[in-house]
């Protein structure tokens, strides 16, 4: 049974088409990867699936809810770890979890217990009363994963979750995401441009480029289809070798300035 069903999805920003008529589906309990170069339309697709952007055309079904028509139904069904941090730096780890629990209507009785359990799971329980701004990148990511799981979502979206993490943290993170997937049956949908990551973790991969899905299937299917020996070769064969330009958004520019001004 598919938990995500996307049909003829298109997103245009003025005259630029970020996502161009894509269709795909993700099965329940699957680990699904969106693999593509910079600016391919991965994040835009995730934003549309998670109600942050409305599509120009096409339909999106998530856990039997129409994403556009019943945004609140959909919002209960998924958790998301964004590409860039979305924690409140001025609050503690525990407070960030608490706000999330209230926003998702997690009952007060279960709240405390579940927050403890999840913070222990990502090994941050001892740091629960520290302000998030004192955390390293890896710790923030772990906290975001814990937070994304707090309301027991059926689908967990991860947008480039391992960007900027060291191999140890990355490994650790995938280990417990796999565990979660096996034990709790949570569907995991992630985007990445690390090829080995998609190959090692995902049950199925869709390669996306210039807003369209150029191929999809298991890693071995992709290799057979392109008559290559490794997924990397398959990827390059499908998406070409030109280096992609990605415009610096105002957000990135701001963040750079912020870094330059902050003490650490």
């Amino acid at each position: 049974m598919s938990i995500i069903k996307v049909e003829n999805l298109t997103k245009k920003f003025k005259d630029f088409t970020a996502v161009d008529d894509i269709s795909f589906s993700v099965e329940k309990g699957e680990i699904f990867a969106f693999l593509g170069p910079n600016g391919a339309g991965k994040s835009t697709t995730i934003k549309m699936l998670t109600t942050l952007l409305s599509p120009t055309s096409g339909s999106l079904i998530l856990d039997e809810h129409n994403v556009e028509k019943e945004p609140n139904g959909v919002r209960h069904s998924f958790g998301i770890v964004f590409q860039d941090p979305s924690l409140d730096d001025e609050l503690t780890a525990y407070e960030n979890m608490e706000i999330h629990a209230v926003l998702y209507g997690v009952a007060k009785k279960v709240r405390r217990e579940r927050i403890k359990q999840l913070l222990e799971f990502v090994e941050l329980w001892d740091r629960r009363d520290n302000l998030v701004k004192e955390f390293s990148g890896g710790m923030k990511r772990r906290l975001e994963i814990a937070r994304g799981l707090l309301h027991h979502p059926k689908v967990l979206f991860l947008d480039e979750p391992t960007l900027g993490l060291d191999p140890q943290t990355r490994n650790h993170m995938w280990e417990y995401l796999s565990k979660l997937n096996k034990e709790e049956g949570i569907t995991v949908f992630f985007t990445t441009h690390y090829i080995e990551e998609a190959e090692r973790i995902a049950d199925r991969i869709a390669i996306i480029d210039h807003g369209t899905i150029v191929a999809s299937g298991t890693a071995s299917q992709l290799k057979t289809q392109t008559e290559t020996d490794s997924l990397e070769e398959a990827f390059l064969k499908l998406t070409g070798k030109t280096i992609r330009q990605e415009e610096v958004s105002t957000v990135d520019a701001m963040r750079m300035r912020h870094r330059a001004w902050s003490r650490k």
Partner: protein, 247 residues
């Protein structure tokens, strides 16, 4: 209700934890009060207008309120940039509640700042005409804070980065402040006096001056009804713009 409360609490915690913000935003009104108050005081009394500090304090409180409120409303831009806004926008709650929670938080902070300035002005020799009216003055501060926080939210919903912030400060907040009669008496026979009646801050200044020093330009009833109507209007406009925010 819970959602409004937790977002209100978040604003407050952020504010109280940032000591530099608390003290930093008190410094400006204090400088204005001391420099203008003691600088223009003699001229003011020579012109037969009485005690300038007494005249100035309600104006400086109003200034604190408009600056803090607009700034709090515009904090949305920071949340947009540093991601926290996304966390609230993907949650299964109405955008209206998110906006109300934030606005109440910002307005509470601005009211606290305004009240602090009122108490600090006691050091400069200010005495309210009746202590019994001070709580009502604080309510007026809260009403005005809601108004300007909602205005800040409305503007910030339309902006993508902090570049626009300076422009809003210079072309909106400063004129609102200078035209409001906060630092000089209004006069019906001048153009300035006529313009002031279109400035919402004029009504904050006037209501506070009325309640704290028993001097007024408009009537208290007019002040309060205009402030209330504008607060409702800006809350509606702000939540409409906020509901349209896409990231």
């Amino acid at each position: 209700m819970n959602i409004i409360y937790i977002l209100w609490l978040r604003q407050l915690k952020r504010y109280l934890r940032s000591k530099s913000r608390v003290f930093g935003s008190l410094a400006q009104p204090l400088f204005f009060l001391l420099a203008l108050g003691f600088g223009f005081g003699p001229v003011f009394s020579k012109a037969g207008q009485g005690n300038y500090i007494e005249f100035l304090v309600p104006g400086i409180i109003s200034m604190t309120i408009i600056f803090t409120s607009i700034f709090s409303g515009m904090e949305i831009i920071w949340d947009k940039q540093f991601g926290f806004l996304k966390e609230t926008l993907v949650a299964p709650v109405s955008r209206f509640n998110i906006m109300i929670g934030r606005t109440l938080g910002g307005a509470t902070i601005a009211t606290m700042q305004g009240t602090l300035v009122l108490f600090l002005s006691l050091i400069a020799g200010f005495r309210p005409v009746s202590w019994g009216l001070v709580p009502i003055a604080i309510l007026v501060m809260f009403l005005s804070s809601l108004l300007f926080t909602a205005l800040g939210t409305a503007i910030a919903s339309k902006l993508d980065d902090m570049q626009g912030f300076q422009m809003i400060m210079n072309f909106l907040v400063m004129p609102l402040f200078f035209l409001s009669g906060a630092i000089f008496p209004l006069d019906r026979t001048t153009i300035l006096g006529a313009i002031a009646s279109f400035d919402p801050l004029s009504y904050t200044v006037d209501a506070l001056r009325h309640l704290l020093t028993n001097v007024h330009f408009f009537t208290l009833a007019r002040d309060l009804s205009i402030l209330s109507i504008l607060t409702v209007v800006f809350l509606l406009v702000g939540s409409y713009f906020f509901s349209k925010v896409q990231i």
